[in-house]
Amino acid sequence: MKKALPLIISGLLAMLPLIGLSSYWMHILILVIMWSVIGMAWNLLGGYCGQVSFGHAAFFGVGAYTAGILYNKLGISAWWGLPVSIFIVTVFALIIGYICLRLKGPFFALGTLAMGVILRVMAENLTTITEGDLGIMIRERTWIEKTWYFYIILILGVLSFFLVKKVIESKLGYYFVAIREDQDAAESLGINTTLYKTMALCLSAVITGLAGAFYTNYMGYIDPKIVFALHDISIVTIMVVMVGGVATFWGPFVGSIIMVFLAELIRTIPKLGAAHHTFFGILLIVIIIFLPNGVVGDWPKLKKAFRGRRAG
């Protein structure tokens, strides 16, 4: 049962468009899966390898802009952004890794945060390449309907899930966790910590970049403030994983369901809607205090609390 769960859930998700959901619900579903993909990517680096990044918007943005620039400058389909972004994002990840991975703990987090901001400023000012604040508009949309976008991101989501699972259960996964738990010990056990941290960063960045390239195709418009956003991308990525469960396979998926629905819910509240970041902040504090391992990680605790209340 437990082994078949990923297949069952992806099967169920694949059948969802068949029941004729409205365009709005399809959009919500696409966002949920896109955020799961980004969350899984972040989890690989931050959750398993222990390198907490506050700058994943950098990779998301580079992926998004790869697709956008291919369309805008070369006149080819923005879908080429998906395969091409793998290479471009890897190059960026290697550069960012070279600079940031020598930093440890909070210093790494600050370094990546800075990288995200630097890339945003660059995208704003390199107007000959990026069109700056005007952004890039994809004028010919591939589909009007959302169904195919949904299937594409679903395939990306399922592939990411199995890739992360495969990696974590292999030698690589053991090495990542060993680095997270104690870098000196890992090094003296023969683990080339610099190499494996770089690998975790590249994998994580590439998956995030793919989500970014998909975003360009799906939304049809990108600008630096959207795709390199600190609060709307980098911070939300961390929240998705924190809420769902750090270093769990299902955490990012559960977290993105909660976060996307919560964001939509709060937005509908009159007057308070604009303050959704405040609510996210409060939620994060509550999660850190009561469910430090997230909904998935602390599921037994949650179940117990719920049962206890009913019994009492």
Partner: protein, 240 residues
């Protein structure tokens, strides 16, 4: 032929000389004890051999190859494993997973790594604790886990940093048994220990450090009768 050669090694931290011109060697298959009062530079010596610190002066050779200046993971790959005085278990991993993680150094597949890990935890007597998350282990078992992890990298030489400190007498006897078994496997051992009776009983030779300098070198019998050592070290430590 000496397996490990430390040649004229000095290590400075700012103006402080933690090690000054240390020269000694470890023969294949022996147990070399490294002793000295607190702050003598024993752990620094390990950190130099293991690659955490590069020597400020001098060189270290392992099987005739220069290893000083290499990184710890490279040195471990060449066949030197170590344990830490302040134990460093991979806290949120089970005992077995801890050992599997180190076994991956020599093998690629998980099945092979698990096989090595099973053998190692049986060898070190951690079999019953294999599924315990290592955060929850008592100190004695953490020390054993350190040894198990080092062994799982299949080393030619193992550096044991105070693997006996804080153990009760029963655990102490068990650990001495494990060390003798490691020696029987043909693994060369260099050991730091404060426990005088233990070090005198198991070492083939002893090197004494004091204030970063080599004070003496010899068999346990010679060391026990060396007036310099008695004055600098054993005199104070007799009560232990």
């Amino acid at each position: 032929m000496a397996m490990l050669e430390v040649k004229g090694v000095s290590r400075f931290f700012g103006g402080l000389a933690a090690l000054t011109d240390i020269t000694f060697s470890v023969e294949k298959g022996e147990i070399l004890g490294l002793i000295g009062p607190n702050g003598a530079g024993k752990t620094t010596m390990f950190n130099v051999v293991n690659g955490f610190y590069a020597p400020s002066r001098g060189e270290v050779y392992f099987n005739q190859k220069k290893i000083s200046g290499l990184k710890p993971h490279q040195i471990c790959k060449m066949g030197i494993a170590r344990t830490f005085q302040v134990v460093k278990p991979l806290q949120r991993m089970s005992v077995l997973d801890n050992v599997i993680a180190s076994a991956f150094l020599r093998v690629k597949s998980r099945a092979q790594a698990e096989e090595t890990a099973w053998d190692t935890i049986k060898f070190t007597g951690l079999f019953d604790d294999r599924d315990v998350i290592s955060k929850g282990l008592p100190l004695g078992k953490r020390k054993k886990l350190e040894i198990a992890r080092a062994l799982a990298t299949q080393p030619e030489m193992i550096l044991l940093d105070e693997s006996f400190a804080g153990l009760n007498p029963a655990e102490l006897d068990e650990s001495i048994g494990i060390i003798r078994k490691i020696k029987e496997k043909g693994i060369t051992i260099m050991i730091i220990e404060h426990h005088m009776k233990v070090i005198m009983a198991i070492s083939d030779r002893i090197v004494v450090l004091s204030y970063g300098q080599k004070l003496a070198e010899g068999t346990p019998h010679e060391i026990g009768h060396n007036p310099l050592v008695v004055e600098a070290y054993l005199g104070e430590a007799e009560s232990v």
